[in-house]
């Protein structure tokens, strides 16, 4: 844009082992969301390789990427991204429609997941009838519907009050304990309590925790 090239990520070389809870920390514009979208196959790198579960995402075409996302990824977004006209149950079941699963199977599995996130009694409610925390729990259930290998959460507590944020964090931690691989991009330092791995980003580069802390504590220039 505007003729200036911005490198959102530069020289990032990371490995995320299976069954880990990875927290990516960084200030606004550090490239943490870009990292998540690249890992999730929602964006393409201009250079470099992204390998998930042995597959080169950077070499896949659009169709292959869509199938890859459907089978391998579960996304949780800061703004929930629920479809306003659909009930909680329909929102949870939504990804399965594209997989060609029958309606009865979709509903059955969605009900189980809504029960797991504590919203069994809200399955017929529209997003506008749910609180922020409840909406994010619906989004968590939706992320799990296709049994993904990797759960990617982009600022999942960013739009939530402290209490709801903690609930969602705990939920992600429980998923990790259940054997799933979770990667969370966040500002929220509380999330690091659950992390098995931490990645710190500054200006598109991976830095050490010490460098990240010192940058965070650096006084503002007058």
């Amino acid at each position: 844009m505007g003729g200036t090239t911005v490198r959102a990520l530069d020289g990032v070389d990371i490995e995320i082992p299976e069954h880990t809870f990875t927290v990516v920390m960084g200030p606004s514009g550090s490239g943490k969301s870009s990292l998540l979208y690249l890992l999730g196959g929602l964006d393409r790198p201009t250079a470099g390789e992204i390998i998930v579960n042995g597959q080169r995402l950077d070499l896949m075409d659009e169709n292959a990427l869509a199938l890859f996302r459907r089978k391998t990824m579960g996304f949780i977004f800061q703004s929930f991204n629920l479809v306003s006209s659909m009930s909680a149950l329909e929102n949870v079941a939504f990804p399965m429609q594209f997989a060609g699963i029958t309606a009865s199977q979709r509903n059955e599995k969605s009900k189980v997941l809504l029960t797991q996130v504590g919203l069994a009694d809200r399955s017929d409610h529209k997003p506008s009838e749910l609180s922020g925390g409840q909406q994010q729990r619906v989004a968590v259930a939706r992320a799990l519907i296709n049994d993904p290998l990797l759960i990617l959460a982009d600022e999942p507590t960013g739009n939530l009050d402290s209490q709801s944020g903690t609930t969602v964090m705990q939920m992600l931690a429980d998923l990790h304990k259940a054997g799933r691989t979770v990667l969370v991009v966040t500002h929220d330092a509380r999330m690091t309590r659950f992390a098995t791995h931490k990645i710190f980003l500054l200006d598109g580069r991976v830095v050490s925790e010490a460098e990240y802390q010192s940058a965070a504590l650096q006084p503002l220039q007058p």
């Binding site: 659009e62 869509a66 996302r69 990804p95 594209f98």
Partner: protein, 442 residues
């Protein structure tokens, strides 16, 4: 994505924006409604015209004439008369041998020469007189022309004639004073009528010759020239023409002026007509006329359908606009769909389905509106046209606007297709959105 899931999603999404979908669909309703009513009107007019044309003549008859060459001048060079000078043009005369040639064509069941009475004449019955066409026909039975007798017979014999159904109505009393009630049409069946033919000698003196005929039959209404014609044997007309024109007629030399070829059924008419033309004669049929009229009405259907289609085009732009707006508003939803595994094809199908859905809903409304308006118009128009027919004579129409079953089906399919076509560009834009940009769209 399964078809029924797609359908359900399309219906859900259309249901989400009822007002907008409804308003857009109204445009389609107007367009398709216009197509339905205008094409129905054209079809109704065609049916009406065909009803009027029905019986205009037997469609299995071909009227054959000698083929005169171009250039306006006629050179007669009888067949077989070898060595005609350079510059003469052969014309194919309707001689008796030519008649045999025509009779030998496949599907031909009768070849009948017909001659007009070529003389000044007046036909009288008591104080009433008429001037009407008299034909001499080379058959003893008018049934060969497909004509039926209302009274008496269709058989012709010497000193009898057979008259058309409306001939009696044309008998008038020319001595009637102004204000005097005209007499009712006479019943001429089995009555004697007088035929007087005239010619003039070299000094300009009128010479008359009188004939008396018994009306052996009155024909049923045929809806053609036969209704106003008087038929008598060909030989009789030949004698009258010879007297009136002071000539001797030898049909083997000069040929007949007109021959009617009858084929076994109207399906063969055009085929035989072409074969006759190939033999070198002029030939035409009432079927040409009817087909010409039908072609005209088919063009009318296309033109009127086109007028309606313009309204549909405007509606299509409305659909494109609605879909473009919808896609803009639902950019994040599109991003989400892609994030959870929808392929470009899934997204394309969904938005094309929604656009087609608007076309379908509008088409359904248009078909209903068009059909209802057509029915209303039918009621009004039939009454009006029946009044016109009563005043001017003619067959009252049974239908003014006619919607055949294929029309609503076609219009519905067409409006759905137009809807889909209108949504193609917005849907392609949606399908090819980069997921990350769609998700970040504010």
């Amino acid at each position: 994505m399964k078809f029924f899931d797609l359908l359900r999603l399309v219906i859900t999404n259309l249901n989400r924006r009822k007002a907008r979908v409804g308003l857009t669909a109204i445009g389609v309703v107007i367009g398709t409604g216009a197509v339905v009513i205008l094409v129905s009107l054209a079809i109704g007019l065609q049916m009406n015209a065909n009803e009027q044309l029905y019986g205009i003549g037997d469609l299995s008859q071909i009227y054959v004439y000698p083929a005169y060459g171009g250039g306006g001048e006629v050179f007669i060079s009888p067949r077989g008369g070898g060595g005609g000078g350079g510059g003469t043009q052969d014309i194919k005369l309707l001689t008796n041998s030519a008649l045999q040639e025509l009779g030998a064509l496949p599907s031909v069941v009768a070849v009948i020469p017909r001659e007009f009475l070529q003389a000044n004449s007046v036909i009288s019955y008591k104080k009433l007189q008429t001037y009407t066409g008299m034909f001499g026909v080379g058959t003893n039975d008018l049934a060969d022309f497909g004509l039926k007798a209302e009274q008496g017979t269709t058989q012709l014999s010497r000193s009898t004639i057979v008259i058309g159904s409306r001939v009696a109505q044309n008998f008038m009393d020319f001595n009637l004073r102004p204000g005097q009630e005209p007499p009712p049409p006479p019943d001429l069946y089995d009555q004697q009528i007088q035929l007087t033919i005239f010619k003039y000698d070299d000094q300009g003196n009128e010479i008359r010759k009188n004939y008396s005929f018994r009306v052996a039959g009155v024909l049923s209404e045929a809806g053609s020239e036969a209704d106003y014609s008087i038929y008598l044997p060909l030989e009789q007309v030949k004698v009258m023409n010879e007297w009136a024109n002071n000539t001797r007629i030898n049909y083997n030399k000069t040929g007949y002026n007109e021959v009617i070829v009858k084929v076994e059924n109207p399906d063969k008419t055009l085929e035989v007509r072409d074969q006759i033309i190939a033999l070198g004669f002029q030939a035409n049929t009432m079927l040409d006329f009817v087909q010409g009229i039908n072609n005209f009405y088919q063009i009318l259907q296309v033109v009127l359908g086109g007028v309606g289609a313009i309204a549909l085009l405007v509606a299509a732009i409305g659909i494109a606009n609605t879909m473009a707006m919808s896609i803009l508003e639902r950019t994040r939803e599109i991003g989400l769909m892609k994030a959870v595994g929808a392929t470009n094809r899934d997204v394309l199908s969904l938005f094309l389905g929604e656009a087609a859905g608007i076309g379908f809903i509008g088409g359904l409304g248009g078909v209903l509106v068009g059909w209802l308006l057509g029915q209303m118009l039918n009621v009004v128009a039939i009454v009006y046209l029946a009044q016109q027919a009563a005043q001017q004579g003619g067959i009252p129409p049974s239908v003014a606007v006619y919607t055949p079953i294929w029309l609503p089906i076609f219009v519905l399919a067409f409006s759905t297709f137009i809807g889909m076509l209108s949504g193609l560009y917005p849907a392609l834009r949606a399908a090819t959105m980069i997921p990350v940009l769609a998700l970040k769209y504010e």
